[in-house]
Symmetry: C2
Subunit: 184 residues, 2 copies
């Protein structure tokens, strides 16, 4: 079995998907001594407004840095869900936001529909931080890095003055993922 794990953040520009990917890669590489590659690809398919950011994490050196068999995908728009789900493994995990994605007709893998937007609105007061909530969900569901590692990486990448806000956001993600794990 390969120890390579592929993550894909799918959504639209401006949702902070790249930052989420960078923080995950930092956490794995800097704080847990793994190999990591963070990639953002733009192609003809991305011109419609969909955007994705990918992270591959492995204990071994990563030869091919493009995600091809996605283990974990989070989708923060309908369009990106529909466009980018095709590479998810049959036994992969897909997290979609309950308000932002409604059509699951081409779903693959194991689907978790989670109310991240609602939690952002109610607990953070705005949608800024949705990317970090999603990151928290992915980390909790995958167990790829510890809470401590992801929080340390996060604190290094967020703007000064936004540390507490982002800490709150990632903890919302941990909690939402725990709740859904307990319900299944």
């Amino acid at each position: 079995m390969s120890d390579r794990t592929e993550f894909r953040f799918a959504g639209s520009g401006g949702q902070g998907l790249i930052l989420a990917g960078i923080v995950l890669a930092d956490a794995a590489a800097i704080y847990e001594n793994k190999n990591a590659v963070q990639t953002q690809s733009y192609g003809p398919e991305a011109r419609g407004g969909s955007s994705k950011s990918e992270v591959i994490i492995s204990d071994s050196p990563i030869e091919y840095p493009k995600a091809t068999m996605v283990d974990y995908m989070v989708a923060l728009t309908q369009e990106s869900f529909t466009k980018y789900i095709k590479d998810v493994k049959d036994n992969g995990i897909v997290i979609a936001d309950k308000e932002l994605v409604a059509d699951f007709s081409n779903a693959k893998g194991k689907l978790y529909v989670i109310d991240m937007v609602k939690s952002a609105r109610e607990e953070l007061g705005k949608l800024l931080g949705l990317n970090i909530i999603a990151l928290g969900v992915l980390v909790e569901l995958s167990g790829i890095v510890s809470h401590e590692s992801i929080e340390q990486a996060l604190m290094k990448r967020v703007p000064k003055g936004f540390e507490d806000y982002n800490k709150k956001a990632i903890e919302i993600g941990f909690r939402l993922a725990k709740e859904i794990k307990n319900n299944k």
Copy 2:
């Protein structure tokens, strides 16, 4: 001849290499309708403090997103220069900062030693923006995207309130590259 062009920003964490890469990829993909991949890799070789960010730009879809034959590299630390120069093509272009890199014993390609730090210090008043000066140098030397495209992409990615500062930084980069082109 392939239309694939590979860029590598090499330096240390905290120098803003990822942002420089993202802005270049945005400029090519969003404003000039090309294909682009922006990648950040961490491996055992990166643990010493060196860091790199890569961008591949092509008119065709990009199958292999890792830089292997680097056309343009900019180095903002000695360690990263020494570590990452090996993949530069024989006829590639290497830009090194005059204050930060001194040992060129394993140089490859065509080397430009440019006083970017000095210009940042004298014209911006601090080193913040060195990444954007370097980006301006790369854009001017490569001609990969227009000044307009890179400036539009830059304005979308910089924090509010820092637009003028970054515009000044990238224009310093354009000018430094023009000066060195005229001198050769």
